[in-house]
Symmetry: D2
Subunit: 151 residues, 4 copies
């Protein structure tokens, strides 16, 4: 498997796409690091991001996992490709109890059409990081019209 | 499989739990219907809920799927149980292109410890509903301390 | 979603492919029914198909789920396409305790490249059928060289 | 997370369970290595284990992934516990084209009730190993009656 980006300007392309995501802004997510086939996103805790016990909501954890994997995959794609998540599976391993959520995506296999990523989500509390979720996901590169269904 | 709720007051218990979720408020989600083993949640479109093409973000779709399945499961549990999502797998079938997102959760199997649900998420645009995602998920009932990890 | 087969001879194509699978022969699987976007496969119980308690092994249940979904998808594909399973997620709902395993696959969404299926596996014991597993899977149509990786 | 086995005799317990699996015998699987929270299983190629192109059938790959993860989890459980796979998700990354299949399971989180494992399946051809599948799975320890449904 090659983790060579097809687009030398992958970093600015990933940042531009991230900036266009209203939802990432809403939850206060920051794109911390992007490298060929890898991505890290962080979300500081806020009461609006919680479930009924005050921990990070699984929906936030899932969104961060999805995006960290998605941009890890997107970093390797050609400049004119758009990307869609085909599916993902997320295991929640510990409560999202902490001040900061860290989602790390890593490409396992980059194909011409499909890319498979693994993501790990950590929650940081008083300088201790705990693995709170892990996911396995499939993404598709579309070189046709943007926003089209995976068809 | 019995879809008899163990708690006759399941409706008010579900509503109370939903109200405590800051994240549901943040994304403007409404608990539309709750029945034994079934739940429906809706989210109207807002620019803050979008991905880079202006459609509902997969993170919102996943959060709605997770919660619709979670409350479908929770409706059947005893009054003193708390619930955690163990894992879910989500397939995105069509872009979230529309004015309203509708997440419907249905219990497939309710066990003493584990419950398995299927959820379907539709997006409505000009009175036409399209299935945009489906998930299969596992939840655990905890009768011990609230918010504990699935252990 | 259209469940129109692109190949009018889909039935004979599916049967021919099934016959070439040494593993289906090994476990005694029979292709019972094939229709556009749907497939049923059955496996009679034999001691060689069991786990440590004498029930159908999860590996057999998973193989039947995979194949029932795979041929449901394959029935809709063009005559020159080959098919690969991209991924699947299987929930085991009840022990495989019975004389006969029945796997039923149903296409949820058929795209040009990707197809998503749901499968249900039942186990029959003394005329009673129990849902013992369900899966959600993604398949890819390849119109290039047979047996290639999903790339 | 502790990867301390609760049963000092875990190795013989795992081997005894493996030997009782008729299906592992049928496909010629060998339990190669067992350690606390880790397991490796191998399957040599035979025509009876193939799909329509002569490669290892996804059903065999899935069965090996399931068992490698299952025994990795089982190694950590108490002596009187039985184990059931709750669910797994498998991504197929490359065709199972080779002489030997190697399934490696690793516990990610071991809880009192639930255990989460990751498995990787490699295929070896002429001394080169290729990652052909990876899975993420959830298992449950039952201390009640053997063979019971995850309830």
């Amino acid at each position: 498997m090659s983790l060579q980006p097809l687009d030398p300007n992958f970093e600015s392309r990933v940042h531009a796409s991230f900036e266009r995501q209203g939802f990432m802004k809403l939850i206060g997510a920051r794109l911390i690091a992007i490298a060929p086939g890898a991505c890290e996103i962080q979300v500081p805790h806020r009461p609006e991001l919680t479930q009924q016990h005050g921990f990070f909501h699984a929906g936030v954890i899932g969104a961060i996992a999805d995006n960290a994997g998605g941009y890890a995959a997107y970093s390797l794609m050609p400049a004119d490709a758009s990307i869609l998540t085909v599916e993902y599976k997320l295991n929640l391993l510990a409560p999202g109890d902490g001040e900061l959520l860290l989602g790390k995506g890593q490409v396992l296999k980059a194909g011409r059409t499909l890319t498979v990523c693994r993501t790990e989500v950590f929650v940081a509390k008083a300088d201790k990081q705990t693995l709170c979720a892990t996911s396995l996901m499939t993404l598709i590169a579309l070189t046709t019209k943007v926003g089209q269904s995976p068809a």
